[in-house]
């Protein structure tokens, strides 16, 4: 008997819930014919004593803004606010959304709640924002470092324009937009819009791909090291590298040391890296096998990557510089892609730190399982950045 009563009560509750919730039509936001855009603020200087009057590189991006008579923006089609200097690692998924409590956004869309890209040809584009394709006016404004939204700022703070230009975005294309210092001596800034092609290439999922850009400002490496104190430092890259460098790749399996290399992949010549902050072309993708280590089981691998950038004519097998030397006159700069990118090699190593390119994660019945990725390493003045793009992988089975 009591069972029946309980059932009755539950039934009544369910009916009530149905009435209470009622019906409503949900309008989903949709952009027809989108282009996919990801924006990085590469102005990596710090305002210090030498450059006290330079603006703090903390920006607001306005796409299709409306200006009043005095040229002050009052409205914008798309706003990317609190755009901070980019972080060394741009992960393949928008991790900042869930894990950060700061109002600062290290990239666009980053933390912005906007429509993002789909999985395109297997590549997860959730770190790219959907922007209506076509011609857009794009304006980057300097803004003070506080959490007041741009349009709520006092009018005198809304007038410092960094760049005001137009860009053309084609439908269904993937773009990365960089704000760069173009000339170190004149401090001229500009933008660099790259139309990516990784989703159109026939890339194998058993190879890890990487391409390189040196988007440093003109005259950075050549300038006196005393003028570079305001720039963020990263190993021996801190004083810049020469305009033409060779890239050598090595793989290691030992944690935080270079004791156990993968012998087939040591000091392997990959190609040349030329400084370029003007010509908008995608660099060649180099690759190495995901399971290059013969001892790995084909599911998981612990290899990490090291890239030696050496000036033309030099070879890392015959390196004249000591491995602890920070000042190599721009001739040698190693980059370690190891662990989370925050732990350095044991001992004094002059390598710049980046996270491992290979994604190890619980997928299917394997925990962890290693996945190959497509990577971009960008060198801007004294610093280096890694952008990793991943494919979609099977969800974990517990």
């Amino acid at each position: 008997m009591p069972q029946l009563r309980l059932q009755n009560i539950l039934f009544c509750a369910a009916v009530l819930l149905l009435f209470a919730s009622g019906c409503s039509k949900v309008d989903y936001a949709k952009i027809d014919d989108p282009a996919y855009l990801r924006v990085f603020n590469n102005l990596n200087y710090v305002v210090g004593l030498e450059n006290k009057d330079e603006e703090v590189p903390f920006l607001t991006m306005l796409i299709d803004p409306e200006m009043d008579q005095s040229g002050m923006p009052v409205k914008a089609g798309i706003k990317g606010d609190f755009l901070d200097q980019r972080e060394p690692y741009a992960p393949p998924y928008p991790s900042h959304v869930g894990s950060s409590i700061s109002y600062k956004n290290p990239e666009y869309p980053g933390k912005e709640n906007v429509l993002v890209g789909p999985v395109l040809n297997g590549f997860d584009l959730s770190s790219w924002a959907q922007i209506p394709s076509g011609k857009h006016r794009i304006v980057f404004m300097f803004r003070p470092v506080n959490n007041v939204p741009f349009f709520n700022l006092e009018s005198r703070l809304k007038q410092k324009v960094l760049i005001d230009t137009t860009i053309m975005l084609d439908s269904k294309e993937v773009y990365t937009l960089h704000i760069l210092q173009k000339n170190f001596l004149t401090k001229k800034n500009g933008i660099y819009l790259r139309k990516e092609n990784f989703h159109k290439l026939s890339l194998s999922d058993s190879l890890v791909y990487v391409n390189f850009y040196n988007m440093s400002a003109k005259g950075f490496q050549e300038s006196s090291n005393e003028l570079k104190e305001a720039n963020r430092k990263s190993g021996s890259l801190r004083y810049g590298i020469k305009d033409n460098m060779n890239i050598f790749q090595s793989l290691f399996t030992s944690e935080k040391t270079m004791l156990s290399p993968v012998y087939s992949s040591t000091y392997k010549f990959m190609g040349q890296l030329t400084r370029n902050s003007e010509v908008l072309e995608v660099s060649k993708y180099y690759s190495f096998p995901l399971f290059a280590d013969p001892k790995s089981n084909g599911i998981y691998t612990n290899i990490w990557q090291r890239f030696d950038l050496m000036s033309i004519g030099m070879n890392p097998a015959n390196n004249p510089y000591e491995p602890f030397l920070m000042n190599t006159d721009g001739n040698w700069a190693p980059i370690n892609c190891m662990l989370d990118g925050k732990s350095a090699l044991q001992g004094n190593d002059n390598g710049a730190q980046l996270p491992n390119m290979i994604i190890n994660i619980h997928s299917g019945i394997h925990n962890p399982r290693s996945f190959a990725t497509v990577n971009t390493i960008e060198i801007v003045n004294g610093n280096v950045y890694l952008t990793t793009i991943q494919r979609k992988y099977a969800p974990p089975i517990y």
């Binding site: 710090v46 305002v47 210090g48 004593l49 030498e50 006290k52 009057d53 703090v56 003070p144 470092v145 506080n146 005393e226 104190e229 305001a230």
Partner: protein, 361 residues
């Protein structure tokens, strides 16, 4: 068994007894001091504060007492009495000796036409400008914390190089920050005109004229000038007569006199403290134009009083191995951080280089 049960029950009663005993204590009415909800108007606040008597006297003298009772909001940057005494103003009557228009402008320059709380300032902002009642602007800078050092925030505030010793004092019609230094700004005057009007810098002026650094000080600049006074220069044997006899071709004028001027900069002494905190930049080694040597500026902040003093010397290279020459110190806070439309001037004692050290080989 029975006894045990009894004891257990008795034990349970203990807290009840305790409660009863405590209850019987005498309860005085507990008086909690109520926070003052009726903040006073700016005028009343500074009138009633013993460390702001001179500033109040100045406000009264220039007839701003009624203005500061209005709704505002205002932000008062009030120098304490010690700051005025350092300038030679010891009692209210001393304000009568000052040109009344200048005094009015001075007071108005210490009042912002807005409520500026510390939290309104952009984080680690440097040279953020705010409008004053006089129609001028003050430069506000914040020494917040080094990147990643949020837990060890310094959060010091400076207005035109004057340290704030007490920030965010609430007023009914605004807020108040206490300074330990009077902000000095001479409107519509260049560094050149100011130096020319002061005989105690006549030797320095003569040197600048002789070696061709004088004319630039009338231009827009900006410049940071460390002006050595006559006394110190004479002690090292530099006089107007000796400068007149110098052969310009034989001396490195850039080192001898150019080193006192940092062109294209406007540094308050507090800026060095601000960047020490924000960027861990301990000093500035700035290459002298058309020379290989460096002007080296560093400062110290008194931990307790927040007073900032500093100095400049000459170095053959920014860091070791180098040779260090001379020393000119800005040791009196009242004499540093003179703001002009074309820069900042600090009065210093001491000499950077003796003429014989500046001889060309």
């Amino acid at each position: 068994m029975n006894t045990r049960k009894l004891i257990t029950q008795a034990l349970l009663l203990i807290p009840v007894f305790l409660l009863l005993v405590l209850q019987s204590c005498k309860h005085n009415d507990l008086e909690i001091e109520k926070e003052n909800e009726n903040f006073r108007l700016a005028t009343d606040f500074i009138k009633n504060n013993y460390d702001m008597t001179l500033f109040y006297a100045a406000v009264e003298k220039v007839g701003l007492t009624d203005k500061l009772k209005e709704n505002g909001p205002f932000t008062l940057l009030v120098p304490n009495d010690a700051a005025f005494r350092e300038l030679g103003i010891n009692r209210p009557s001393d304000f009568s000796k000052i040109n009344q228009d200048s005094l009015k402008s001075l007071v108005e320059r210490h009042i912002l036409t807005r409520r500026l709380l510390f939290s309104d300032m952009p984080h680690n902002g440097v040279d953020v400008r705010y409008a004053t009642l006089a129609g001028t602007e003050v430069y506000a800078s914040m020494a917040g914390y080094a990147p990643g050092g949020e837990a060890f925030a310094v959060n010091d505030l400076y207005f035109n190089g004057s340290p704030v010793t007490r920030k965010d004092v609430p007023l009914a019609n605004g807020t108040l920050h206490m300074l330990n230094k009077v902000m000095k700004y001479t409107p519509v005057m260049t560094i050149q005109a100011w130096l020319a009007a002061r005989p105690k810098y006549s030797i320095f002026v003569a040197g600048l004229k002789k070696f061709g650094f004088w004319d630039q000080l009338a231009t827009a600049g900006p410049f940071t000038v460390f002006a050595p006074e006559n006394e110190g220069l004479k002690a090292e044997g530099i006089t107007e007569a000796s400068i007149a006899e110098m052969d310009v071709q034989k001396y490195r004028g850039t080192r001898l006199f150019g080193s006192y001027i940092l062109p294209k900069t406007h540094f308050f002494l507090s800026d060095f403290e601000v960047f020490k905190v924000n960027n861990s930049q301990e000093f500035l080694a700035r290459k002298i134009d058309n020379d290989t040597w460096f002007s080296f500026v560093s400062i110290t902040k008194n931990f307790f009083t927040k007073v900032i003093t500093g100095g400049v010397n000459l170095r053959t290279a920014p860091s070791y191995p180098n040779e260090v020459y001379g020393s000119a110190g800005a040791d009196v806070p009242a004499l540093s951080d003179h703001l002009f439309d074309n820069g900042v001037l600090h009065e210093v004692k001491g000499v950077l280089l003796r003429p014989e050290q500046a001889l060309k080989n």
